[in-house]
């Protein structure tokens, strides 16, 4: 098996498949990370992804325009983020339950709207792979990273963007301040509410992109429960990445490459019970997290609603 794996071809295929699989996690986990950095835990990722997957698919199906599909998918995610922000920031509700409520709402609405509008599985011409000139001809790296569709590139580009915004801009400083010590940030004139709304809505939009990618970038169709629990894994990957874009990237890639590897192991007919193959990414993610050295703590104000002390 090892010999087979070391053949360049096999490895490239596995890595390329891992990159495709990592994309939805990357979008959703980066978005969730931004929200959590501002102090809001949003467990509604999975439901948001489903609803956006549907709206993006439907608009693409009806209009034939992929761009419009993406736009509507992102807006749907933003709207779900807005609901979460109203409930958890303005109403200061318990964030864990709010997120589960949002998830149920998204799960239900996606099924209902699908039933009302299409009612049967249909397909669209989704995003086609777009080779990046020059880069796609690079050995190994070209095939692994540069022969995907535009949404995949976008997901990976968003990693450094998130890093720059969070750690190199005044806005990022404010976000982190609100997540660590909202009282202090408030005293310094930062609008805790405003920042949290912004971050939760952006987080929702990113979940929306994740769902959009599933329906018009990867599967090119919409089916009920299209995420099959991906949103929950994306939340887990934020903890894996310890609230850092590069960590989230590492987690998403690790999880997805191992997943691609287990698929390949099965396809090659290597005799282990398939359940153990399917478990591989779950087990390895736990193991990798346990032995990661960094000891970053979660944002101090995470999941704590902020209430300005009445003077």
């Amino acid at each position: 098996m090892i010999n087979e794996l070391l053949k360049e071809g096999a490895l490239i295929l596995i890595l390329a498949s891992g990159v495709r699989l990592a994309t939805p996690y990357l979008f959703a986990a980066l978005g969730e990370m931004i929200g959590q950095r501002s102090g809001v835990l949003n467990l509604g990722v999975d439901g948001t992804m489903m609803l956006s997957a549907f709206t993006a698919f439907y608009v693409t199906f009806a209009s034939g325009s992929l761009a419009l599909g993406v736009l509507v998918g992102v807006l749907t995610g933003g709207l779900m983020g807005l609901i979460m922000a109203v409930v958890s920031v303005t109403m200061r509700a318990e964030q864990g339950i709010s997120g589960i409520g949002l998830h149920l709402f998204g799960l239900g609405m996606s099924n209902l709207l699908f039933r009302l509008s299409l009612g049967a599985i249909s397909t669209v011409e989704g995003f086609r792979p777009l080779s990046v000139p020059i880069l796609s001809d690079l050995p190994v790296i070209g095939a692994v990273f540069f022969r995907h569709n535009v949404l995949v590139y976008l997901a990976f580009v968003l990693v450094p963007v998130a890093w720059v915004v969070l750690f190199r801009t005044p806005l990022g400083l404010k976000i982190r301040a609100v997540g660590e010590n909202p009282q202090a940030a408030d005293t310094l004139g930062v609008s805790v509410t405003g920042i949290r709304y912004l971050c939760v809505i952006i987080g929702g939009m990113m979940s929306g992109l994740a769902g959009t990618y599933l329906s018009i970038g990867l599967n090119n169709m919409y089916v009920d429960n299209i995420t099959n629990g991906m949103g929950w894994i994306a939340v887990a990957l934020v903890y894996f990445g310890r609230w850092h874009p590069w960590g989230v990237l590492a987690g998403s890639l690790l999880f997805s490459v191992v997943n691609a590897l287990q698929i390949w192991v099965q396809v090659r007919g290597i005799a282990i019970p398939y359940e153990f193959a399917v478990m591989m990414p779950y087990v390895l993610t736990i193991v990798a997290l346990a032995f990661a050295v960094r000891r970053a703590q979660q944002p101090a104000a995470l999941s704590k609603p902020y209430e300005r002390a009445e003077a």
């Binding site: 109403m91 200061r92 149920l104 239900g108 009302l116 903890y239 359940e275 087990v283 997290l289 346990a290």
Partner: protein
Amino acid sequence: MKLSPSRWRDTVVGILIPIGAVAGALLAGVLILVLAGVNPVKAYGPLLIGPFANLYGIAQTITKATPLLLVGLGICIGFRGGVINIGGEGQIVAGALFTTWVGLQLRSLPGIVLIPLLLLTGFIGGALWGAVPGILKARLNASEILSTIMMNLIAAQGVSFLLRGPMIDPAEIAYGTGFPQSEALTEWAWLPRVIPRTTVHLGAIIALVMAVLVYVFLWRTTIGYRVRAVGYSKDASRYAGINVARYAVLAMLLSGGLAGLAGAVEVMGIHHRLLDGVSAGYGFTGIVAGLFGKLHPIGVIPASFLFGALLVGADKMQRAVGVSPGIVYALQGLVVLFVVSSDLWVRRRSARRVEGGGEELVND
């Protein structure tokens, strides 16, 4: 405990506000129903009255509430101890697996011995499955949110493996149908039905007893006090000489154990064997029940009953008007969002009364 008039008023308001929130959610739900072309009056009848209309409705609600209560109690201990246990699904499966496996080995024991033994086995199964993330968190600072989510998925695959191989009912192989389920447990191991001809089984009473026990544990024992102290402030607890890591593991262990017990009573009271998907989402819904109950063991009792009623009523609504299953989830989501938002007004009232908030610490 004597209640002053102002406290009475708070209690009444504390009940009225969530009810108002449910009404608000259903009002918002009218939009969805109209969109789906359903007459809201026809839909809401079964939703609201169905779960209480007759003995079977109530029985269905109690059946649903039983695992929710047990998982919700586990959530109380976990969250109070500062660990966020999202691993209920996996722990239910582990408890169900342990119970079934041991139950199939000990067929000849009489019920009076077998039933307590199997309940304990289920508890241990869930506790062990919960202990893994607990230890990883305590020793290696690995987030329990991540590890519990992953452990859920691992448990599902593990049981799937056992049920198609080592534990499959030999009859399924003999007849070539191959459905992944274990052999049935001996009738000695079945929990007696509390209400005849319904699915309400002894597990409901066990769950109520556990609620009292968890209350006593958390508020009347030193260990329970320390669990809460660790959850309230790790630093202060450490300063007070409490072994923070040990209590975090303990909280996770007990939390998992209660979910495992839920798995055990589901097997012994309902299925009488192990099936794929035995956790049925209770591990997640139980979190909502626990949090709705304000993480108070006694509060979780009505919370799980009402949430059970919502689930039962929603299914009845789907059958009565033939709506898409999505409406059921969408309405549940709305109810959760509205109720959790309405909490603001409840808290404002009690905050005005408590002033300073000292009482909250002792008695919340």
